[in-house]
């Protein structure tokens, strides 16, 4: 029977993960598809999954009263979406909305959290990989905050 294993193995985010862990992930994985405009998750709701994106683009958004929806970042093909499942209180920090037809693999985080608690090597692997993602997003936010285009290169 065909499984999602080959897709998970080849995804850049999971590259180099031990075969037994890939096997474990395969058991928690489901193919999902989101139409344009559909929400993958909503801010403040329980984060019980994360997504390996295979195609399409997802916008991370927040809503500010009086200003409307603010787009924070776009995540696309070959990227991973969602780290809230790994860090207490396991709630989404933003809305995630598909900007176009988006294909992804959804991973059940409830099951993975328990496995990470049992197997610290697995927990460490995930912590390392998601820490990279968090640091990249933090750096991007840093650059957004310093408003790097403010100083024009020429008048």
């Amino acid at each position: 029977m065909e499984t999602l294993r080959p897709i998970l193995e080849q995804h850049p985010f999971l590259k180099g993960l031990a075969p037994e862990y890939i096997e474990l992930l395969t058991g928690c994985a489901a193919n999902v598809r989101f139409k344009e405009g559909e929400y993958l998750f909503r801010e403040g709701k329980k984060a019980d999954q994360f997504f390996i994106l295979r195609g399409g683009r997802v916008s991370l958004e927040t809503y500010a009263p009086g200003r409307g929806t603010i787009l924070i970042q776009t995540v696309g093909e070959d990227e991973v979406l969602g780290w809230s499942w790994l860090i207490r209180p396991y709630k989404w920090s933003f809305d995630g909305r598909a900007l176009e037809m988006t294909r992804a693999i959804s991973l059940d985080a409830r099951c993975l959290r328990d496995k990470c608690a049992e197997d610290h090597n697995l927990g460490y692997e995930f912590m390392q990989r998601f820490a990279d993602v968090m640091v990249q997003r933090l750096r991007a936010t840093h650059l957004q905050l310093i408003d790097m285009y403010q100083g024009a290169p020429r008048k």
Partner: protein, 270 residues
């Protein structure tokens, strides 16, 4: 050193704070220029500012400059209308190594109004497109309203031989494009780092992080070129206003190879 009188043929409003002037000489021809060079534009009775040439180097009839309203001279410049006159000195400075990059992939990474001095390079590349590998434009701005040359970007996007990625730092709900800083585009952009020449222009902080990402991706620092901004007054290396360590940006730049700049690049004060 004397400015030549030019007449304004047209003024294009690009964004809320940027505009492009199409100029033609009152006498004689427009002098040839290379992509990346700049002119000193002189508003009689107000002052003179260095502005990059943003038009097509193959067009000998029109001289184009795109600028942002940031100071007393450019604010008055904004009020120019068709038929008005201003002075032009130049072209000055070094240029992008476009023709020396034949056979390579070319990555053009720019932020904000940094697209203006790179547009002539794109025109030149497109005029000799078959002589280059992949050509990738990575362009970042603050918001969707700050995107320069929108119609032209749409036109380039429709071409099959040009990869264009535009991203903004922030946007509201109706924006369907990318959100995120320009540096986030570099890891995913389709080019071969071993055989790539990168042309980078934007505020220094943007260039600093862009260079970091390009190097991380494997682009050799000898293949990375930056256009520097300094307070240029004379344009010919006499006054010293634009000194950058051992260099004068107006004379030795504005386009430098990164390994030449590296010892001073990112220093708080030079």
């Amino acid at each position: 050193m004397l400015p030549h009188p030019y007449t304004v043929r047209q003024v294009h409003r690009e964004t809320h704070d940027t505009f492009t002037l199409d100029l033609e000489p009152l006498d004689g021809d427009t002098p040839p220029f290379a992509p990346g060079q700049f002119n000193m534009l002189y508003m009689y009775g107000v002052g003179e500012v260095p502005i990059s040439i943003s038009g097509n180097p193959a067009d000998s009839r029109t001289l184009m400059h795109t600028t942002r309203e940031v100071g007393s001279v450019t604010r008055v410049m904004r009020t120019l209308q068709r038929g008005d006159t201003l002075g032009v000195r130049g072209p000055f400075g070094t240029h992008w190594p476009v023709l020396d990059s034949e056979g390579s992939d070319v990555v053009i990474a720019c932020g904000g109004i940094g697209l203006a001095p790179l547009r002539p390079a794109l025109y030149q590349i497109l005029a000799h497109r078959e002589q280059f590998g992949k050509v990738v434009l990575l362009y970042g701005t603050r918001t969707p309203n700050d995107i320069l040359f929108q119609r032209e970007i749409q036109k380039w996007r429709a071409q099959f031989d040009l990869e264009i990625y535009v991203t903004v730092d922030r946007a509201m709900g109706n924006w369907r494009g990318n959100v995120g800083v320009v540096t986030t585009l570099i890891p995913k952009a389709p080019f071969d780092p071993i055989n790539t020449v990168a042309l980078v222009c934007g505020p220094e902080v943007m260039m600093r992080f862009t260079v970091q990402e390009l190097r991380k991706r494997g682009v050799d620092e000898r293949n990375i070129y930056l256009s520097m901004e300094r307070n240029m007054k004379c344009g010919i290396g006499c006054c010293g206003h634009c000194q950058y360590g051992p260099d004068l940006v107006c004379r030795d730049g504005p386009v430098f190879r990164f390994d030449h700049l590296e010892p001073l690049f990112g220093a708080w004060e030079v």
